[in-house]
């Protein structure tokens, strides 16, 4: 069994996928119960492709999930994976009969719904047209034609008559856009879902969905701080069913906590995460996130990092987080180091090594990189093995910027005067008809390569 698995993950690695060797802490069945709809399959497939330990199990659950649905493309895909990863498994064969039957059924259903919609359109009843479009779009989504689904969901918009309809259109479009990874498209869809306070009930029930989708969109665009703020604002009193087709309660807690850790300072974390009554409710099922944040706020940075490292493989198997885990972790780590150094004017490298040292790289190199990138304002004393933090002197900064702007002003003024004179004397470079560059160099003039003397 080891051989086909090895081959499978070599292939995944070659395709640029992330391979997770350590076993995650979660239970696959329990995890997947938190979701409904098409996202279930997507998540299972991702775990199957990434986790060495859960590969076959996840792929088999995904296969069952695909067979319960109507999307034959998904079925093909997962069987293909399974055939490489576990060729001897009884599930790793195409169910040709099911495939043919499902394909035919899908085609017939499409025709039926299209005909129905045409009928509604002839009758000119707005509500029927809206529902016809919705049915058709849902069907397209179920069979995996996301493009057509998105198109027909959009066509529902002209015929909406209640606030709930409007929110529904938005939810559909957002869901499809998330599946298609079109982060830019999410913002206009989300903006159209706002009801401007006229329908408090609908607004309340759609709030966590909107916040979570906004967070996912920002996360997809690497805007971690904005994403953190969105997740932290989600309303915990709305049942998870309202958004479980894109994200679970646990995910909101993890995303919000991790991103806040990566982008906020201690004061903000205290106020916006730990003292945030509504977000605490999200954090309840994920106590380790709360512990990590508490550790950070209390200045116990190494414990914070330790806790997070313990969950690294879990987060690497998350559909939205996977790509960002290493960057978020690096940010948290360098923030910890920066925060650690704040109260000191000077710290020995040994102490730092003890607190943050990792076997892979020396803390000195890591600090050097952080200083070069401008994350940390400090200087390393390589002889005494110390790190001195540098205090920015606002007076010196002000003086430097004053000088720079004065000098820049002078330079620009001269340049402008010169340009006016050139224009007035009609000396600009004007277009020529002939080929080649203007003004060949004078033949007698050997421009440069003279010896360059000392100044």
């Amino acid at each position: 069994m080891a051989d086909p698995l090895l081959e499978f993950f070599t292939q995944m690695d070659d395709q640029g996928g992330i391979v997770v060797k350590d076993a995650p802490k979660f239970d696959l069945d329990l995890l997947i119960q938190n979701y409904r709809g098409r996202t279930k399959f997507d998540r299972l497939l991702l775990i199957g492709r990434s986790s060495v330990k859960l590969c076959v199990e996840a792929l088999k659950v995904a296969l069952a999930e695909a067979k319960r649905g109507r999307d034959i493309q998904r079925y093909r895909e997962v069987v293909e994976y399974l055939r490489i990863a576990a060729p001897d498994d009884p599930d790793a064969v195409y169910d040709k009969k099911w495939l043919e039957k499902q394909e035919l059924a899908n085609r017939e259903e499409t025709q039926r719904l299209l005909a129905e919609l045409k009928g509604y359109k002839n009758n000119l009843i707005k509500e029927s047209i809206r529902m016809g479009n919705e049915d058709l779009a849902k069907h397209y989504e179920a069979i995996g034609d996301l493009n057509a689904a998105s198109e027909h969901y959009s066509k529902m918009r002209p015929d909406v008559s209640t606030a709930k309809h409007l929110v529904d259109v938005g939810k559909h479009l957002v869901r499809v856009a998330i599946q298609r990874r079109e982060w830019n498209m999410l913002f206009p869809h989300l903006a159209k879902m706002s009801l401007n306070g006229q329908y408090p009930e609908e607004e309340r029930s759609s709030q966590p969905f909107i916040k979570a989708a906004t967070g996912i969109a920002f996360l997809g665009q690497d805007k971690y701080h904005e994403a953190a703020l969105a997740f932290l604002e989600a309303d915990p009193t709305v049942p998870a069913k309202a958004y479980s087709d894109i994200i679970s309660r646990n995910d909101i807690a993890v995303y919000g906590g991790l991103l806040a850790l990566a982008t906020m300072d201690r004061r903000e974390l205290q106020a916006m995460v730990l003292e945030n009554q509504s977000f605490r409710m999200f954090l309840e099922p994920e106590p380790h996130i709360r512990r990590a944040v508490t550790m950070f706020v209390n200045g116990r940075y190494s414990s914070c990092i330790e806790i997070l490292e313990g969950y690294r493989s879990d987060y690497l198997l998350d559909i939205y987080l996977q790509k960002h885990v290493s960057r978020i972790y690096a940010k948290i780590r360098s923030k910890c180091i920066v925060q650690y150094l704040i109260p000191f004017s000077c710290v020995s490298l040994e102490t730092l090594e003890k607190a943050f040292g990792s076997p892979e790289s020396s803390i000195e190199d890591e600090l050097a990189v952080m200083i070069e990138e401008g994350v940390l304002e400090a200087r390393i004393d390589g002889i005494e093995r110390l790190v001195h933090t540098v205090r920015v002197d606002p007076r010196a900064q002000m003086q430097a910027s004053a000088l720079a702007s004065a000098e820049n002003y002078e330079k620009q003024a001269v340049e402008r005067l010169r340009r006016m004179a050139i224009a007035a004397a009609d000396l600009e470079l004007t277009p020529i008809k002939k080929q080649g560059l203007h003004h060949q160099l004078g033949g007698d003039l050997a421009y440069a390569d003279q010896e360059i003397v000392m100044g």
Partner: protein
């Protein structure tokens, strides 16, 4: 002879200054008289005696004419001629010489001083003369271009420095310019008598000459290793205003390549093309400057192999053709220096051994062989004042290390004041230049036309906004700027 002498000292009349107009008329009459005298047969034989009786600072015009006669006669002893020229060039009255443009030009060029004296002497003489004529150094003349070219070719850069360190903002020849002020006006800026159409002080200059002048200035500064000045001079060439949208001058291309290399030496990273660079040249630089730009990027990235690969990827023939090999050699040499310099942002003290392992030589792409070599390199940098710091050998026998001086980046209060006042002073000094520019433009037909047009447009806009019923305001503009179809559909 006596009558000639009397004529020569007749202007300017001692003690009587007169108003500008009187002075103007007198000066013109005097030039006429001098021209007539100098065509006299006896004049040349009397010149050597006459000159002894004149003072170059009071009777500058007369002195100029006599001196020119002596110089062109070829019989006057060279040493004496040099003395007289020096006396004249350091002390002449620029207000008088405004009337003697032709003679002044002749003095410098017929025969050329370069042909009479050794190169460095000639360069110094001309530089002094030009600065005496125009202490602001803001007007370019053909004397400037010839001088800088000659100085560079003969490797006498030093005496020309006072000239090339000035910022040129005026160019001779301006279309439709009519001088509204008398030459005798003491407030007349140098641009008012040098950069005018009648070409007394300068032959007409074309774009090529101007570009070449700034390129040569850049080359002179490169020779002096004044990187900042060289960089600025070359930048003037590459940002030269152009109406060309697809092409550039060969000189600009040449300057661009050097500009990148000098930028690397100056800043340790690839320079960014200024936003004022015109479209056409910008396009050309993108293609012709590719090898240089790639080299600059590799320089920044700190992988010595990549850097080495970049310059070795181009054949020796390429560099020979480009004539930038000396500069390139310097850039390669500076590669490691910049790496060491960048360490100052990270370390306050660092052992030489660590420097050795952390930096790579640009030449071999490998760390230097021994700590001694590093020490020599670092000491060299300290001596050149590139680096502020010191190499310390601890008394307890520990490894030697480099301590960066911590206050290197901070200015002292006095230094700051000095530089700030300097900048303020220089900006203030631009005042007269701005006034001169304004004056020059005010008499330019094209500028006036443009102003009038601008004003008319403003009026028209005011009217249409007032609500002309039948007219669509700005309709033509909309169609011109946008895609025709969408414009019409949307409209």
């Amino acid at each position: 002879m006596e009558s000639t002498r009397a004529t020569l000292v007749a202007f300017p009349q001692a003690g009587i200054l007169g108003d500008n107009e009187e002075y103007h008329n007198a000066a013109q009459a005097h030039v006429k008289a001098l021209t007539k005298l100098s065509s006299d047969a006896k004049w040349a034989s009397q010149a050597s005696q006459l000159i002894e009786q004149l003072d170059p600072s009071t009777h500058s015009l007369s002195y100029l004419y006599v001196l020119q006669t002596l110089k062109s006669a070829n019989s006057y002893p060279l040493d004496d001629l040099l003395l007289k020229l020096t006396a004249f060039f350091t002390s002449f009255d620029a207000r008088q010489i405004r009337y003697g443009g032709k003679a002044f030009t002749k003095l410098l060029s017929q025969p050329r001083l370069q042909d009479v004296f050794p190169a460095s002497v000639a360069v110094e003489l001309i530089a002094t003369a030009l600065l005496q004529l125009d202490p602001t150094g803001s007007v370019l003349t053909s004397h400037h271009t010839d001088l800088v070219r000659f100085a560079y070719m003969t490797n006498s850069v030093e005496p020309v420095l006072p000239i090339i360190e000035k910022n040129i903002v005026f160019y001779p020849g301006i279309r439709g310019y009519t001088n509204t002020r008398l030459l005798s006006d003491p407030d007349l800026p140098p641009s008012g008598f040098i950069a005018v159409l009648d070409h007394d002080f300068s032959k007409p200059l074309d774009t090529e000459k101007i570009l070449e002048h700034d390129l040569l200035r850049g080359l002179c500064f490169i020779q002096r290793r004044s990187w900042q000045q060289a960089f600025d001079a070359l930048e003037r060439v590459i940002t030269f205003p152009s109406r060309e949208t697809n092409n550039a001058s060969k000189i600009m291309v040449e300057a661009y390549n050097k500009w990148i290399l000098v930028g690397l030496l100056l800043k340790g990273k690839a320079p960014v093309l200024p936003s004022i660079t015109s479209v056409g040249p910008r396009k050309i630089y993108d293609t012709t400057g590719k090898p240089y730009y790639a080299l600059a990027q590799a320089f920044e990235k700190r992988t010595a192999e990549a850097f080495k690969g970049e310059y070795e990827g181009l054949s020796q023939a390429f560099w020979d053709e480009e004539k930038n090999f000396s500069l390139l050699k310097l850039v390669i040499e500076h590669y490691q220096k910049w790496q060491i310099l960048n360490l100052r942002h990270v370390y306050s003290k660092i052992s030489l051994e660590q420097i050795r392992t952390r930096t790579r030589s640009g030449e071999t792409a490998a760390p230097l062989g021994s700590v001694q070599e590093i020490e020599a390199l670092v000491k060299g940098m300290i001596d050149e004042e590139i680096l502020q710091g010191e190499v310390v050998h601890p008394e307890n026998g520990g490894p030697a290390y480099l301590a960066f001086s911590s206050a290197a980046d901070d200015l002292t209060e006095e230094e700051f004041t000095r530089r700030m006042v300097g900048a303020g002073q220089r900006i203030k000094e631009l005042g007269p230049v701005v006034r001169a520019t304004n004056e020059r433009l005010a008499s330019n037909k094209d500028y006036l036309k443009w102003l009038a047009q601008q004003k008319r447009q403003e009026q028209q806009q005011g009217q249409s906004q007032g609500g002309g019923a039948g007219e669509v305001p700005g309709f033509g503009d909309v169609v011109e700027d946008e895609d025709l179809m969408t414009g019409i559909v949307a409209g």
